[in-house]
Each structure stands twice: as C-alpha cells, then as structure tokens.
Amino acid sequence: MDINATLLGQMITFAVLVWFVKRFLWGPLTQMMQDRQARIADGLAAAERGQHEQELAEKRAKELLHQAKDQAAEIIAQGQKRSNEIIEEAKDQARQEGDRLLAAAQAEIEQEANRAREQMREQVITLAMAGAEKILAREIDQEAHKGILDEVAGQI
C-alpha cells in the first residue's frame, strides 16, 4: 500500500499514453470535427443563400410574367386599333372607288347620249336632206343648188 517505484512506471505510462492519444486520436479527431462543423455551417449558409436566391428568382419571374401580360394586352389593343383602322381605310377606299365608278359610268352615259344625239342629228339632216332632195328634185337642179346646200350642211 506504500508508494514505491510503481509510481515512476505509472507516470511514464501516463506520459506515453497522453502523447499517444494526442498524436493519434485527439488531434485527428478534433481536427476532423472542426472541419465537419465548418462544412455543416457552410452547407447551411449555402442552403440559406439558395433559398434567398430562389425567392429573388420567383419575384423576378412574377415581375416578368406581369410585364409579359401587360405587353400582350398592349399588343392586342394595338392590333384591335390597327384592324379598326384598316377596316376604316377599306371602307373609305371602297367609297372612293364607288364614287369613281359612278362618275365614270355617268361620263360614259353622257358620252353615249351625246353620240346618240349626234347620230340622231345626222340622221335628221340626212332625212331632211332626203326630204329636201325629193322636194327639190322636182323643183331645182341639183347641180345648181349644191353650193348652197353644202353651206347649210356645214353650218349644222
């Protein structure tokens, strides 16, 4: 029960044991645990960052969607406006064309009427001439009065 040289042996054992544990277990293990702690912290931070980024992206997507809707509505409105314009233009054009055709037809009609009147006049003259010829054939010499008759015909 007394203290003896066992003390020295146990002290040496203890010293060696502490050195061994420090070198082969405590050192690597605590280092590894620290690394793991750092890695977990990094992972959590990355996850948080990812979540944040996702939130931002969602917000941005919503914005983009909103913009797209606005644009689409605008385009549709423009299209409607343009189609109305085109319809109006077409109507105008049609009206103008109609007017033009009408005018052309009227002009033609007038022309035709004029020609008919001319023809009629010539025919009246011819008839008159024929009548007059027949009357005059009896009364005057065709040769003698031809000058006068030509003058009259030229005046018509």
Binding site: V18, V21, L25
Partner: protein, 273 residues
C-alpha cells in the same frame, strides 16, 4: 485462493491477501510487502499497461479510419466523450492549450478503465493468476496509491510548469510571497501557498484512492458472505447492487479527477490570481 485458508475461516487473511500487490524488486520475502522505494507492484503496472494498450490500440485504429461524413458506432461514442471533455474544458479553462484536451481525455478514459477493473468479480482474476503460479494479485490499479499519486504528480508537474511558463518565475514566486495576506506576512504567505499547492495533487490522489479502495473493500466484504448456500442470494443481490452503484462511482471519480486537473491547470494559466 491462497495459503491463508478459506474466506470464511480467515476473513482478515482473505482481505489482506486480496489487498496485497504482487511485489518485485526490493520486497520483504516473508510478508511480500515492499521493503523500500525500489519495489514494483507488477500487477498495478501490468493492468495499467494493458488498459493503456487498449486505449492506444483503439485510438490508433479509430484515428486511422475517421469518417468525417457520417460517423458510426465506436466513433460516435468517442466523439461524444471528446465533445463532453471539450465542453468541460471550455467551461473552466481560460484560453487555450494544446495539451489540455488530450490530457483530460486520457485521464478520464484511463482512470475510468482502471476503476472499471473493480467491476470484475473480485476473486476471478486472482484465482486465474493463482492457477498460473502468481500468488498475489491486486486487480484495480487505482486502489494502489502509486497509481493515483503517479497521475496526481504528473498533473502537479504540469501545474508548476504552466505556472512558471504563464506567470514567469518571478510571477510564480510573487504568488508564493504575497498571497493571500499581502506583503507584511510573507512567511505566512509562503507556508499557506505551499500548502495550497501541495494540497492539489494530494487531494487528487487520495480522493481517487480512497473511493476505489473503499469500493474494493466492500466487494471483498460481500464476497466474504459465501460461507453457505442459503446466503448466496443475499450475496448476489448485495454484489449486484453495489456493482450497479459502483458504475456511478467509477465514472464520477474519473470525471472528478479529470475536471479538477482542468481546473488546477486553468488556475495555473490564470494570470491574475
């Protein structure tokens, strides 16, 4: 068993025999006790080495196959102990020191294992030893004052070393001269501080020794009950009860030794005492 006779017929001899170390070197040939300092308790050294060897083996094996991702089984246990030790150190140790962690861990595990030898049935290993011609065997190294003082002395050396390293030789001397009563009572101060310093390792060693020795003694007393078949249930019940309680004691003593080591070394590191 030994020449002292059966436990029932000679209880004192039985207990004394069980508390006798296997001596080598400067030993008394008749009583087999150490006759001077230069004697070795082979059983204490042997079990100390076996348990230290176990720790080294498992430390080496685990240290080589550390898994940083998903630790399993044994590594979990060791990580839990390391975390536990680290928490204690963080709580009471100022600053940082590379040796304090492994030191505390080693004390905790080694002392725990040496204490745990107490849970091996008291007669089993001596009986095996007597079978191979070893007449004396004291199984629990921490019931040997040499072991507890070896640990306490190692800690004491570290305490002095770090006191001088952190405070300087003059700072440490000043602590002896002017603490606790100021500069007018220097002789008293020196005595008081010396007692305070020496009390640290002595209390460490004696506390562990006392607890383990008492526990061992109680196991021996319970073992003495085996003088009749009708006492057997009582003996088993008492032995189990004490063993279960002793699990708490051995863990607690290992923990206290570790914690006080950290505290004392922390005091050595605290500059302003």
């Amino acid at each position: 068993m030994s020449a002292e006779g059966t436990p029932a017929s000679n209880p004192v001899g039985y207990i004394q025999h069980h508390l006798q170390n296997l001596c080598a070197g400067n030993c008394d040939p008749v009583t087999h006790k150490a006759a001077g300092f230069w004697a070795f308790n082979l059983d204490t050294l042997f079990f100390g080495w076996v348990l230290a060897g176990l720790i080294m083996y498992f430390s080496y094996r685990l240290g080589k196959s550390l898994q940083s991702g998903t630790p399993t089984g044994f590594q979990n246990v060791i990580e839990a102990i390391v975390d536990f030790v680290n928490d204690q150190i963080k709580a009471v140790f100022p600053g940082s020191n590379p040796i304090i962690g492994p030191l505390a861990f080693t004390i905790f595990v080694w002392v725990f294992l040496m204490n745990a030898m107490d849970l091996v049935p008291v007669d089993l290993l001596p009986w095996v030893a007597s079978g191979i011609g070893v007449d004396y065997l004291k199984v629990v190294p921490t019931t040997d004052l040499s072991t507890t003082f070896a640990l306490a002395l190692s800690v004491f050396i570290l305490i002095i070393y770090y006191n001088i390293k952190v405070k300087g030789l003059w700072g440490y001397t000043k602590q002896f001269l002017f603490h606790p009563f100021g500069k007018f009572l220097i002789p008293v101060n020196v005595v008081m501080t010396a007692i305070e310093e020496v009390a640290k390792p002595v209390s460490l060693a004696l506390r562990l020794f006392g607890n383990m020795f008492a526990g061992e003694l109680l196991f021996l007393l319970i073992a003495l009950l085996s003088f009749g078949w009708y006492v057997l249930p009582v003996q088993v019940a008492l032995g189990s009860l004490w063993a279960i309680f002793h699990i708490l004691v051995i863990t607690l003593q290992a923990f206290i030794f570790m914690l006080l080591t950290v505290v004392f070394l922390g005091m050595a590191h605290a500059d302003d005492h």
